[in-house]
Symmetry: C2
Subunit: 287 residues, 2 copies
């Protein structure tokens, strides 16, 4: 497969590996949103060779992850190749020596929380919301011959990101799903720490990035699927799917939330149910 | 699922995670073969709850790996759960501060090559052949209610291990498979370095661990499946499937060797074809 980029490509190819008849590729590029280099991974299913209008699933990873975790551990290429869905997985934050960081794993590099930071020092680079919502899809749809039909999914911090972004941009996504999302970040320690650092102390700003608040007020409804393991160590303190469920009930939101006995927060849980997420998205992307 | 061990278990449970309706568990134990602690992982498919005679696939990993790489990256649990096959993945060498090591990634810890070392300092602990062939299956079949029907598979150094062990012990395995195996270790840099360190300079000893030599002389024939990527960086210098193929041709050995355009040495290659390996083994383990 030749490099599927335009001659004036803004992308640097970092690696490429054949997988399930298609290609896994990593790219880096200069990002205007985060004002620095960003890396992302793409899985091109085998159909990409001949079809120029495949839909794209964006995957947002959780705390400490890069573009690699999902691609290596979710077992997602198999179903993407079967259904003809392109996968795009960005990094979870800006990176580099000149990018602010924190000693904790849950703030700074690897923990961008998919918001636009307004507070120093984070506001210099941490604009992951703009990156994921606007810059990255524009880049993908310019550099590669794919359709503008998009779905979005993610895990934990990335589940928060996927739900929040779809709820704020219902015109941009056909469907949204999440594994073990941080469902109500305003009301959990991870969210408190990140939102107060990135967004300051005004909780009305936090609410603009909180999926449970957004879902209770949503007007245009993107179909949503959430899976949650019941042996997840973070379930009660950090994830709070009950808040999302209550918001959906209040607003008659098309949310399917499945709870699974015995499953934890790991990629073993994701891989066990990733096929169902792809089939859910395919149903909305393709018909 | 309760811990599936006897009350006089010799195993320490390190972790357990639900996956595809079954359980991934890591155990450590005092090994008499390597005279130290060993760790291994087991995938119990959901059928293990009710069936007490499931067959077992042993997986041997490659250089630098532990028991974790295959379990996390191969996407194998799905098909193991579908077919009802237990997977056991040992570490690739003894470990610890008192275990000899080397600065290279291809000798010492993480690089046991599945032989019984005869040369100091390696001979004190590096008896991976005895561990994999005898101690580990005895332990598994005593601690868990599984059948003694066994298959063996592996990748790269572990592909060498799987083929070599099955060829030397045709009574112990129903079938053998390998991804990108070091097919003729006597005749490649990795094998030269490891065999001279572990076994000394007598090449007649090396030959006892060389799959191409063993396959050309085998009398009892274990059905063998090998998959090899043609964009594998190690193909020409280290892996040499043509030696295995020549040995099979000479001896009318039941070897199926598939070459795959574009695939490299990574777990993306393994995950792309792991389902076929499970189906191959199931055909021999179950009928």
């Amino acid at each position: 497969m030749s490099l599927p980029t335009n001659s004036d490509s803004k992308l640097n190819l970092v690696s490429q590996t054949k997988s399930f008849g298609g290609w896994h590729k990593q790219f880096s590029h200069a990002s205007s949103s985060v004002k620095g280099e960003m890396r992302f991974a793409v899985y091109f299913p085998p159909q990409y060779e001949t079809k120029k209008d495949l839909p794209v699933l964006y995957w947002l990873s959780g705390l400490t992850c890069t573009d690699e975790n999902f691609m290596q551990k979710a077992g997602a290429h198999r179903m993407a190749a079967q259904l003809g869905i392109v996968i795009v997985a960005p990094d979870t934050s800006p990176r580099g020596d000149d990018v602010a960081n924190d000693e904790g794993y849950d703030l700074g590099q690897g923990a961008g929380f998919y918001v636009n930071a307004t507070q120093a020092p984070w506001s210099a680079h941490y604009h992951m919301y703009d990156y994921v919502v606007t810059e990255l899809p524009e880049l993908i749809e310019k550099e590669f011959e794919v359709s503008s039909k998009r779905a979005i999914s993610g895990h934990s911090m990335g589940g928060h990101g996927a739900l929040m972004i779809a709820l704020k941009n219902p015109d941009r996504y056909s469907s949204v799903s999440a594994f073990s999302p941080i469902s109500n970040p305003m009301d959990c320690p991870w969210g408190h720490k990140a939102f107060s650092a990135y967004l300051g102390e005004d909780q009305s700003v936090w609410a603009q990035y909180d999926s449970s608040v957004l879902m209770s007020n949503a007007v245009d409804l993107v179909p949503a699927l959430v899976d949650q393991g019941l042996d997840d160590n973070f379930l009660q303190e950090q994830l709070k799917p009950e808040a999302l469920e209550a918001a959906a009930a209040k607003n008659n939101y098309p949310l399917t939330l499945n709870r699974h006995e015995g499953y934890d927060h790991s990629y073993y849980f994701i891989s066990s149910f990733i096929d169902e997420h792809f089939k859910f998205h395919a149903g909305h992307l393709m018909y």
